[in-house]
């Protein structure tokens, strides 16, 4: 059965583009345009992986959503791939919490996104999850 991927990103265009490439790669894709909508969709859609934009309405909102997912018993196992445009996690270290080393995200991909890499990364994370 096809893996389900939820894209949470406030950029309408990027959502459409990611959806096209991931669908083509054989994934079932749904999307949400902000954090609150994203958390609702996780419950309804039960994705195998979440692609999360780092900065939506506010700086670091992506991390807040990631933290909320990790602190929810039913969602915390879902791997998160974070899209970031600001040199990965640099600049947001303090917002990750509860301590600096605790990182709620499985991997980062830099914008602009290379779609082959994105699909490869998604596949790799899903495979490693299957093995463990």
């Amino acid at each position: 059965m096809a893996h389900k991927i939820l894209i949470i990103d406030d950029d309408y265009d990027l959502v459409e583009i990611n959806r096209a490439f991931l669908s083509k790669a054989g994934f079932k894709v749904d999307c949400a345009y902000n954090g609150a909508e994203g958390l609702e969709k996780i419950k309804a859609f039960s994705p195998d992986l979440i692609i999360l934009d780092v900065m939506m309405t506010s700086v670091g909102e992506g991390f807040e959503v990631a933290r909320a997912i990790r602190q929810n018993e039913e969602m915390k196992q879902i791997p998160i791939l974070m899209l970031s445009s600001v040199n990965k996690e640099v600049g947001f270290r303090l917002r990750i919490g509860p301590d600096e080393d605790w990182n709620p995200v499985n991997a980062f991909i830099d914008k602009p996104v290379d779609y082959e890499k994105l699909v490869a990364k998604v596949t790799e994370i899903l495979n490693s999850k299957k093995e463990s």
């Binding site: 265009d13 459409e16 909508e37 445009s85 600001v86 914008k111």
Partner: protein
């Protein structure tokens, strides 16, 4: 050493004695005044300190000892020699006790007189020299005290904290700013140990300066005193070394750099935001290009067309963003060149509405307008055009389909008041608080397809502020917003 050309007062009621002594001493080069009565002697002897007083013990009206006492009371260091015809041990002792330097018995030979006067003037010389040295020392002490208080005043007036420590790591000198910066409430005394006085991370710095001998260097360190208060202090510790290279102590200067740190943080936050905003359209454009290249997606012509449209819109938005960033930077740097001229706001506003007429009709919006005539203000046309364009384009972009726009312009207490209302998405109270912040954009499903830089209102506010105007916002979420701009009207209105 003795006094040459001394000034001498002779008090004697015997004319022959007065004149005789005067003549003898004038031969020696001295200046001699005489007084024939005790009263006159006391009067003359009081107004001026003679180098030597020769006082007759028996002076008709007065007792010579009274003259002696009077003179000694005024000039305690004066040299008085008693001249007496009744010399005895008793008189000698008595007058010496009253402060006489010596006595000479009548009659006396010129040599006896010279001998005694010379000794007396020698004594006088030593007294004067001692007095001179004493006065000089006092003057120097005064100077030192003055210098000290001057340095103290300067140090206390410096806005940086200053602390001086000796080689035993005891505090020697500090100023009030130092105590305030480090929030030291306790009483500090010279000789207190730095270990008692300073937080640990600071005396570590002194230890490092002391330990690094012999190649002593200044150490700079940033310390955060109270993390919640965000007090960041730059401490600059410099060793003080004597000519033989020994460490005498250290001087530390404490500077509050909290504000600089805060500015630094704001700057890097702004750069992060700007980078994010610049990368977002690039990501979208690149993504669309890849979709177009990838033939295996089997896109329809409509889809291609849509992707190209979106790409073009994102490119336009990117160019706008870059222009806005440049504008903000120019406004903030104060390098905007302004051509201030009288502007007919009524006309400019009407022109702007005409410019947008197409967009208004395309979205089926009802336009209501009430623009008073002859609204004149002195300003740069381009900047005011930008304010109006921003207000009206926002009212169109964030409106709902077939909504309404209402535009009002009138004079209001020396201001020109421009009000633009829409029936659009409105703002939540928390959104309204951030409205004028750089890169803020209301984001919800309704704004998904609206392009914008997130800088328009920031720039608008900067322009309005720079004309000493103001902007007010009223808004109801999902019902609409009203922006009211006040700009000072021209005096000629």
């Amino acid at each position: 050493m003795k006094i040459e050309n001394a000034k001498i007062l002779v008090v004697d009621d015997e004319l022959g004695m007065r004149e005789g002594i005067k003549r003898l001493l004038e031969i020696e080069g001295h200046h001699v005044d005489t007084a024939e009565t005790g009263a006159k002697g006391m009067q003359m002897g009081s107004v001026f300190e003679y180098d030597l007083y020769l006082l007759d013990l028996k002076i008709g009206d007065y007792d010579g000892t009274q003259v002696l006492q009077k003179i000694k009371s005024i000039y305690p260091e004066s040299i008085c020699v008693i001249v007496t015809a009744y010399a005895s041990i008793d008189t000698a002792v008595e007058t010496t006790q009253l402060g006489a330097y010596h006595y000479i018995s009548k009659p006396f030979s010129p040599d006896e007189l010279y001998h005694l006067v010379n000794r007396a003037l020698e004594r006088r010389w030593y007294i004067l020299e001692a007095r001179r040295l004493r006065e000089e020392q006092e003057r120097r002490l005064l100077e030192v005290a003055h210098e000290k208080s001057r340095i103290r005043t300067i140090i206390n007036a410096i806005d940086d904290g200053i602390l001086v420590i000796n080689q035993d790591k005891q505090v020697v000198l500090w100023n009030p700013r130092f105590l305030k910066l480090l929030e030291i409430d306790r009483k500090v005394a010279v000789g207190d140990s730095v270990y008692q006085l300073l937080p640990e991370k600071l005396y570590e710095q002194f230890d490092r300066v002391f330990d690094q001998q012999p190649q002593l260097k200044a150490i700079k360190q940033e310390i955060v005193i109270h993390p919640p208060a965000k007090l960041v202090i730059m401490v600059n510790t410099t060793p003080v070394i004597n000519s033989s290279g020994e460490l005498l102590g250290v001087v530390s200067v404490f500077r509050d750099i909290s504000e600089l740190k805060q500015l630094d943080l704001l700057k890097s936050q702004f750069i992060n935001m700007a980078a994010h905003e610049l990368k977002a359209p690039l990501s979208a454009i690149k993504g669309y290009i890849e979709l177009l290249i990838d033939a295996t997606l089997g896109n329809t012509l409509d889809q291609y067309s849509h992707q190209l449209d979106r790409s073009r819109e994102r490119i336009d938005a990117l160019v706008n963003l870059i222009n806005d960033l440049l504008n903000i930077s120019r406004i903030e740097a104060g390098t905007v060149r302004r051509d201030i001229e009288p502007i007919d706001m009524s006309e400019l506003l009407q022109n702007t509405l005409d410019f947008f007429r197409n967009d208004i009709e395309k979205r089926g919006l009802q336009l209501e307008q009430q623009i008073a005539a002859d609204l004149i203000l002195d300003a740069d046309r381009e900047e005011i055009q930008r304010v109006l364009t921003n207000l009206i384009s926002n009212a169109i972009k964030y409106n709902k389909e077939s909504g309404a726009i209402s535009v009002n312009a009138e004079r209001n207490n020396g201001y020109i008041r421009i009000q633009v209302s829409d029936t659009g998405i409105g703002l939540k109270p928390e959104e309204r608080d951030h409205l004028f912040e750089e890169f803020f954009r209301a984001k919800n499903p309704l704004t998904r397809n609206i392009t914008g830089t997130g800088l328009g209102l920031t720039i608008l506010k900067k322009i309005v502020d720079s004309y000493a105007g103001r902007i007010e916002v009223e808004s109801e979420f999902e019902a609409g917003s009203t922006f009211t701009v006040f700009l000072p009207a021209s005096d000629t209105n």
